[in-house]
Symmetry: C2
Subunit: 432 residues, 2 copies
């Protein structure tokens, strides 16, 4: 289902670094650059990852060139250590010799000077050597000033090669500078404006959505002009449709069809994530959390956004049964009678959080994250939630979640977010 | 610095899925398979990622074949929806036609039957069609029974292609089955046994380590037989050395050299992560946390491991100043006089946590995560920690951390872990 016309510019990304290849470091640059390219209407075809090996880096550059991409973005391998060799390889690949840019060498030296004062055991000669290495650039390349100590490059040619450092904090602003260069602008000149529209559903199995989409395909005119990918993660279904602007009517019809089929499960029609929906719903309110198995993940999640201090009072991580009583006043007899993982205890935790933090909104989670602790009655994955408002409205749920310890903790946190959203949007069990 | 002899088998990994290409889903299979291959002594040369597009998948398969890999592992694209097309592409790539495996079709049907009962609006004909699609396999391929609903494949040839589903929970056991097949065993028969050794340091800048490694290179015989990669993440430096067993003496010399140069910063010589070191140090103890800016991340991290209930009593997320007093008894005059982000307040939080949770170990963190809240005296990134034991020994620190909100929160949590480790290992400021 290819939407791209013959002139849509294509790009590839090469991520270098043995730590990324072996998964010790998570690559954030691929995804971030991918989003930037999408916004620009450039079609990202491939991301390739290799270790700090010139032969493999070069092979990946050649692969992308053979694939006919208009632009290659590289990330990583610009540091001072011996395993950083991207510039050397890019020079060879683009048939340009390495030349010393003396102005650049001086600029890097200025950046390093204050750092050198801090560390006593630097060998000034070794630092100068590293400095010089980072100032060797392919002849004719344009330099992007360092945000850290490593400069980036825009190497003209077909494809254009944009060379950026590994740390996202450096890559991101330097990409903006690279984007503004003539060479990059020319490479992406013929881009098509794509739109990306996202729907989000919760509590629906992926196969049920697949069924709905199959039906939509036969009913909706222009469905084939939508490039749709669905992704189930942590219980949340993300449906992303990529389309040219003149296919908007087909998309609106699809969105209406999905909303009609799954009104309860569809929680976002414009891509807004549950975290932002909850943050909006908490405006003017004060929330407190009471967590057992999630042990702080929910409080941490609610405070991810800047400005969270406006609506987050605090939370209690009541991992032991004793602390449930000590901090939240949960009646020990409830725990004895129903068990720590039970709806009555979840409700008592929520009430306790409301009082303890003088909050008007509370979310409590208690469950068995495993691998131990399960019983035939309450196997690993059994989790109870209670979300409660000061006016008495509340929602209480019990679910059996799949997966291992960290899956269960993560998904429990997500379910709590959705329950908070539902309650704050007007849903609720009968108020006691 | 290539260690691989002419016969070391090489592998490549193809990760398919537009959700991975665009970063909406984090690829876990690349890293996991990478570790498995390393353990086997197989050299992983490339990981490539593409969207759900036959043309790109095929291009990546051909690239890897041209690179002379002995084995290609693919992940993703085996589901029932239209965007799942890996098997079709692999068949075309390997020059084999697709045939219907009727026994497989029946097995998948059996797996689906109980699921079909749960969802009322499944169209039985559509389900059968999806079922049949997943039972079409390249002629001559070996089937790996599904863990979910999608079977895997081992397609003989040069290279051998191992086709696995996307979800890690399915891929991981199915890889073990694939590994045992004759085709895969033959492909990796000539492998060399590599060892991987890891050192970890904290509180040392990467350039200082680069300097130490440069010196080591000139002093240590056999240094060139070590493939060393260093990676700085969240303040922690990971130094991974890959070597053939007969280069062990060179590695031991390197490790001794690094330990000699940086005795305080080297915290792990066998790759053990700080989380495991802290868990070991907490055996027989009870820890409680008091968190402001990290808002539960530290408590969540301490409870990641199974069995954490043995040593974690609980924690207080005291996001607001009021809650610092309400839950932990922090004197409001301390907050007024020194500010919420100050060493006296961190110390009061730690003492409060010890008492409130009846713990013998406490860790408190208070800081300015940003983007707002900074002042010239206390800019964004200013964080104070206090870790304290019941016997009175404690460590108190203030640092200025770099980065954005989530960097600061994450790194604050890591620093807390290291301070806990240091205190529990016998370090400590004078006990008050």
């Amino acid at each position: 289902m290819r939407l791209t016309g013959p002139v849509t510019p294509r790009a590839g990304i090469v991520v270098t670094g043995t730590e990324v290849l072996t998964g010790r470091v998570r690559d954030r640059n691929g995804p971030w650059l991918s989003d930037r390219l999408l916004e620009l209407g450039v079609d990202l075809a491939h991301i390739t990852i290799c270790g700090d090996r010139p032969r493999d880096i070069e092979a990946q550059l050649r692969f992308l060139a053979d694939q006919g991409v208009d632009m290659i973005l590289t990330s990583g391998g610009l540091g001072p250590t011996a395993d950083d060799m991207t510039v050397e390889v890019v020079a060879r690949f683009s048939g340009r010799r390495l030349v010393l840019d003396e102005a650049l060498e001086e600029r890097i030296g200025e950046i390093l000077r204050p750092l050198m004062k801090r560390f006593r055991y630097w060998d000034p000669e070794a630092v100068r050597a590293a400095n010089r290495k980072q100032a060797l650039i392919p002849e004719g390349a344009e330099v992007i000033d360092p945000v850290g100590t490593a400069p980036g490059l825009v190497v003209p040619g077909s494809p254009v090669v944009v060379v950026l450092p590994g740390p996202p904090r450096e890559l991101q602003p330097m990409w903006e500078v690279a984007l503004a260069t003539d060479a990059v602008q020319a490479a992406i000149a013929a881009r098509t404006r794509y739109t990306q529209r996202t729907m989000r559903l919760f509590g629906l199995p992926e196969s049920a959505l697949a069924e709905t989409l199959r039906e939509a395909e036969s009913r909706i005119h222009g469905f084939d002009r939508l490039e749709i990918t669905t992704c189930l993660r942590g219980g949340e279904l993300e449906v992303v449709s990529r389309l040219e602007p003149d296919a908007t009517a087909a998309y609106e019809a699809l969105a209406a069809f999905v909303g009609d089929r799954h009104p309860r499960e569809l929680y976002s029609t414009d891509g807004t994530r549950i975290d932002d929906l909850v943050a909006e719903a908490l405006a003017g309110r004060r929330v407190a959390t009471a967590e057992s198995c999630t042990a702080g993940l929910l409080a941490a999640r609610l405070t991810e956004r800047a400005g969270a201090s406006e609506y987050v009072a605090g939370g209690a991580v009541v991992y032991s049964n004793r602390s449930k009583t000590q901090l939240l006043g949960v009646d020990p007899r409830l725990i004895e009678e129903h068990g720590a993982v039970s709806e009555p205890v979840a409700e008592a935790m929520a009430r306790g959080a409301l009082g303890r933090f003088e909050a008007d909104t509370a979310a409590a989670v208690t469950g068995i994250a495993g691998p131990g602790g399960g019983t035939p009655d309450k196997p690993v994955g059994t989790v109870c939630w209670c979300v409660r408002l000061g006016d008495g409205r509340s929602l209480t749920r019990t679910l059996l979640l799949p997966g291992g310890r960290s899956d269960i903790r993560e998904r429990s946190t997500t379910v709590a977010m959705h329950l908070l959203h539902r309650l704050l949007s007007g849903g609720g069990d009968d108020a006691p």
